[in-house]
């Protein structure tokens, strides 16, 4: 016996030349290319987006503390190979040389700050800089420059230190961290911190240690620091500190994983179809080979080696195509993405290779393994067939392997479960519905015209294989529907998250007496301003008479919390009452509504009595309701809300929000000239950045959807081609018997359109199930039954499958019958 390696290469070359390998090879190539392209693209995109969103923190990870960061923490960061920087923020009066004074939010920076993102500073005379201020110098935010009438080169005083203004701070990456520093920013070097004498024991200061580096090192560091954190210390990554961005990125990641997993499933479906066809086409060949003396083992070895070669070639070529595809996708987004060049890494290729071998092992191999069992007697009696008994085992094994592959790929059991579950539904219902309808259609067909009769009889004659085709079409259409509808919900949700005109500035500390002049100010300038809410700073002291430990004591569990209290008699929009009920308008009862996280922190539930303190007044209220707040909304949100009548009794200020066009920032200065005691929080930069990120991931999602659509189309083509041989033979006989080409192509079109609409029904059932699980459980989106998809899915199934089928079977009606009969 010739070595099986050589024999298998020979078999492969001959099959290739004979055109037998085309579909199987394309399917394998598709699997590898799609997986490499999508996972490569996702890796790069994720890396870039994480880098970009990390600029919200100016780091990958931040430790913040109300006390100086312990030195060993910095040493450990160095030892872990992480880059580090520090910031120390506090509020302080800044005084100009002309004795102008203004309360600023001072940030002293040192080390390699900022580790992610960059400062943008105008140093005057058209000089720009991204460096931190030199010792002895400061950068001032434009509003501070305006308030202090200072310019570059002037001196300003922070506490006891005299510092020189070196530039105007245009933007800083971590501008949104720590809303407590309300004033306009002053950035100085940590080297001058001691000189100021401002930071004393007991002053309200936030120390931050910023670190950045490789993911593994960060994880190690996080695991090292986390157990050492005490009250007043916090560790945060961008996901935790920016829930809006964190959730956006999470959903984008989820979607891309979903898309990649669907790519794998579609490819597996294509391989399954192609291998079945390959196996069927090789049955006669194997019978001849066995009659010529090939043993079962020889045949199995031959095909196993052939498949292995095919796998290796697909992996090599598919990796190349995948690389090209991901780099094309990346380039298409080039203008939108940060310029940082990232490599795709080895992981996508490994994923591609593993996918190829799982697909080969569990989808392509079983039908070929069965070839070993072909009876050599088939050379004399064609009706000798291979035992079908193992098919259901194949299906179970295949589905299980696909499940494991997806689980490995997505590390998400919900996603895997949802997809495998919906596929099981499609397959199960599919065979049931298909078989029933196919039988029914024969009865309808027998009373119909000749084209219909021919079409429905053909479909019924091919019973199981028609059902198999319907199921494959159904799965492909279902996966595409799932992806399309998830994409649509996701994009809609993102659009709603930050609609045009979302308030990008907040005003605090409006004295009730200033309310009307504030409204006049905005009305005169045609700026729309939001509702004015009363606000009072207060503290929760006790729950049900049990005093809470205060914040600074290092104890686990419930503790005192300070918060901005507000009042309203109507539940705020976007808040969801999770327990209790909202009070009646105008109530005079002493009630309170708490945010759920806040309620957890103090250990309170509906019906509990809270003891609260505003300024020096202590009073008691009953918890009426607990709310879930959407922190991603960028709208004013509150931890503690009272009825209007209750808060009126306490001294309070007002606060509101408004939207300012980018070119109108100078209005802030005008406002502070009129009402210098106001505090303004500027969120415009943060909102803009979130919008940019959303735009980028939206485009990425559209591109990935496109690739998966192509994969889906290929599955449909593979499915349609699967029955071409049999049809060729039948149509040759029918044409020899005098059937016209019109009749035959009509029958083919009707047959495929009927299968397509059946597949459409299955697809909709499956996609609604999968869509429900994915959207509610995984992507945290609202789920709505997409009624519009129902007629569309059925019609599209009929049109697409009908057209593809008629096209793939064009040879069936165009090749002379004699040629077909001789070839077969």
């Amino acid at each position: 016996m010739t070595s099986p390696v050589i024999a298998s290469i020979r078999l492969l070359i001959r099959d290739w030349r004979g055109g037998e390998l085309g579909v199987l090879f394309s399917a394998l190539l598709l699997a590898v290319s799609v997986v490499v392209a999508i996972s490569g693209f996702v890796n790069r995109l994720q890396f870039n987006l994480e880098r970009e969103s990390a600029s919200f923190l100016a780091a990958d990870l931040v430790v913040s503390s109300s006390k100086p960061i312990p030195a060993p923490w910095m040493d450990e960061a160095s030892a872990s190979g992480l880059a580090q920087g520090e910031t120390i923020t506090f509020s302080s009066m800044v005084i100009s040389a002309d004795d102008e004074m203004f309360l600023a939010s001072v940030k002293a920076v040192g080390g390699a700050y900022p580790l992610r993102g960059a400062l943008s500073v105008d140093k005057g005379l058209s000089q720009a800089s991204t460096d931190i201020p030199e010792p002895g110098t400061v950068f001032l935010a434009p509003r501070l420059v305006q308030q202090l009438s200072a310019s570059v080169g002037d001196e300003v005083y922070v506490g006891d230190a005299t510092l020189t203004v070196a530039g105007t701070l245009l933007s800083e990456p971590d501008s949104t961290t720590g809303f407590f520093g309300y004033g306009p920013r002053l950035v100085m070097n940590t080297a001058n911190l001691d000189e100021t004498g401002v930071v004393q024991p007991g002053s309200r200061v936030t120390y931050r240690l910023l670190v950045a580096g490789e993911t593994d090192d960060l994880t190690t560091y996080r695991e090292w620091v986390e157990p050492q954190l005490v009250q007043g210390q916090r560790l945060s990554s961008v996901d935790e500190s920016q829930p809006g961005i964190g959730a956006t990125l999470d959903r984008a990641r989820g979607f891309l994983l979903l898309a990649g997993s669907l790519g794998v499933m579609l490819a597996a479906a294509a391989i399954l179809v192609a291998a079945r066809r390959f196996g069927e086409r090789h049955t006669d060949q194997v019978a001849v080979m066995k009659s010529l003396g090939a043993t079962r083992a020889t045949i199995r070895q031959l095909y196993a080696f052939s498949l292995a070669w095919l796998g290796l070639i697909s992996i090599g070529l598919g990796s190349g195509i995948g690389w090209l595809a991901q780099s094309a996708m990346f380039n298409a987004l080039a203008g939108q993405l940060p310029s940082e060049i990232t490599r795709i890494g080895i992981a996508p290729y490994i994923t591609g290779a593993v996918t190829a071998f799982v697909c080969i092992g569990f989808f392509a191999w079983p039908p070929l393994a069965r070839l070993g069992g072909v009876s050599p007697l088939r050379v004399i009696r064609r009706e000798e067939t291979i035992a079908d008994a193992t098919r259901s085992t194949d299906l179970v094994l295949g589905t299980a392997s696909l499940g494991l592959l997806m689980l490995w790929y997505s590390s998400d059991w919900k996603l895997t479960g949802a997809l495998i579950g919906s596929i099981a539904i499609t397959v199960g219902l599919g065979f049931l519905v298909a078989q029933t309808l196919l039988t029914g259609s024969r009865q309808v067909g027998s009373s119909a015209g000749s084209v219909w009769r021919l079409a429905l009889a053909g479909m019924q004659r091919r019973g199981t294989s028609s059902a198999f085709q319907v199921v494959i079409f159904g799965i492909a259409i279902m996966l595409l529907l799932v992806l399309t509808s998830v994409r649509t919900s996701l994009l809609d949700q993102w659009r709603l998250q930050i609609p045009e005109g979302t308030p990008n500035h907040f005003i605090l500390n409006v004295a009730p007496t200033d309310e009307s002049s504030l409204l006049t100010f905005f009305a005169e300038r045609d700026i729309e301003v939001g509702e004015l809410y009363p606000a009072a700073r207060g503290r929760v002291m006790a729950v049900n008479g049990q005093p809470l430990p205060d914040w600074d004591r290092f104890e686990e569990g419930a503790r005192q919390r300070e918060a901005n209290f507000t009042s309203t008699d109507t539940a705020p929009e976007g808040n969801k009452i999770v327990s209790g009920a909202w009070w009646e308008v105008g109530t005079e009862l002493s009630l309170v509504s708490l945010e759920d996280g806040f309620a957890d922190d103090i250990g309170a539930k509906v019906g509990d009595m809270l003891t609260l303190r505003i300024a020096a007044d202590e009073f008691s209220v009953e918890v009426a309701s607990i709310r879930e707040v959407n922190w991603e909304s960028m709208q004013p949100n509150f931890f503690v809300i009272f009825p209007d009548k209750l808060l009126e009794q306490f001294p309070n200020t007002l606060f509101t929000s408004f939207y300012l066009e980018p070119g109108e920032k100078y209005r802030l200065g005008e406002l502070l000239d009129v009402m210098p005691t106001l505090t303004i929080i500027e969120l415009d930069v943060a909102i803009q950045e979130i919008k940019t990120i959303i735009d980028q991931v939206s485009q990425a999602i559209e591109l990935v959807l496109l690739i998966v659509l192509v994969a889906g189309a290929l599955v449909l083509i593979a499915g349609v081609s699967a029955s071409v041989d049999e049809r060729l033979h039948e149509s040759a006989i029918l044409r020899a018997l005098g059937a016209g080409r019109g009749t035959l192509s009509g029958a083919v079109a009707i047959e495929f359109a009927t299968m397509g609409s059946l597949a459409g029904i299955l697809a909709i059932l499956g996609s609604e199930t999968a869509g429900w699980v994915l959207q509610t459980q995984m992507l945290d989106l609202e789920y709505q039954i997409q009624w519009v998809l129902w007629p569309m899915g059925i019609a599209l199934g009929a049109v697409i499958i009908g057209t593809l089928g008629t096209y793939a079977c064009r040879r069936v009606v165009s090749v002379p019958p004699l040629q077909v009969l001789r070839e077969l």
Partner: protein, 221 residues
């Protein structure tokens, strides 16, 4: 060379069990030519399949070159076929993806014979297809395809050649040419030839002629 005793083959159908061969006793000596004739469905092809070791009998003995093949499993029978048996089929059974030459080489490759190519070229030339080595079956006429099949059957130099209706798909003239080739090569190679046919003229050229009637075999006088 070939000997059977009380060979019985039954198959189960949906309704009942069908006895296709009802106790066949047969002996064909080395180098002899034998024809099995009979009506369609009489069991000729079933017998051929059993003699060639393509199928196993329900009971009885089959000895091929001294080996009782009834006791062999499918793989052992395959090995025996590769060493001792050649086939010519009514529908040629050439592999469409392989050229004429590759089709002839296939059994030699399966048997691991080194000089497969030279041998195959030789046999193809002997059947008059020296100009057709690299043609695919679909581009060959029926007669040419059967000649490729004959070259393939003889190339592995089998002890026994089984032919199932070798002229069944051919016109009279082409059929006659193929028959000449078959008998000519058989004589040159000293092969034992067992053929199944409807064609009495073909059957009469064999040294022995058996008639199959409803599962019973009788030697014609």
């Amino acid at each position: 060379m070939i000997k059977t005793s009380q060979l019985i083959k039954r198959v189960s159908t949906a309704e009942s069990e069908l006895e296709i061969l009802r106790g066949i006793d047969l002996e064909i000596k080395r180098g002899e030519t034998a024809a099995i004739v009979g009506a369609s469905g009489s069991g000729k092809s079933t017998l051929l399949g059993l003699l060639a070791g393509l199928d196993a009998p329900s009971s009885g003995e089959i000895t091929l070159d001294g080996v009782n093949i009834v006791n062999l499993d499918e793989d052992e029978r395959a090995t025996l076929r590769s060493e001792k048996v050649g086939f010519v089929f009514q529908n040629f059974q050439l592999l469409p993806a392989l050229t004429a030459l590759e089709n002839v080489m296939l059994p030699l490759e399966l048997a691991g014979i080194d000089s497969a190519r030279e041998k195959s070229e030789g046999f193809l030339s002997r059947v008059g297809l020296a100009e057709r080595f690299h043609h695919y079956p679909r581009t060959l006429s029926g007669g040419e395809q059967q000649r490729v099949a004959i070259a393939r059957a003889f190339a592995s130099q089998p002890l026994i050649l089984f032919a199932d209706e070798p002229t069944g798909n051919l016109d009279t003239t082409t059929g006659a040419t193929v028959v000449e080739l078959l008998f000519g090569l058989n004589k040159e190679e000293g092969t034992t030839l067992v053929l199944v046919t409807h064609d009495n003229i073909l059957a009469d050229r064999c040294q022995r002629k058996y008639i199959m009637t409803a599962g019973h075999l009788e030697e014609a006088s």
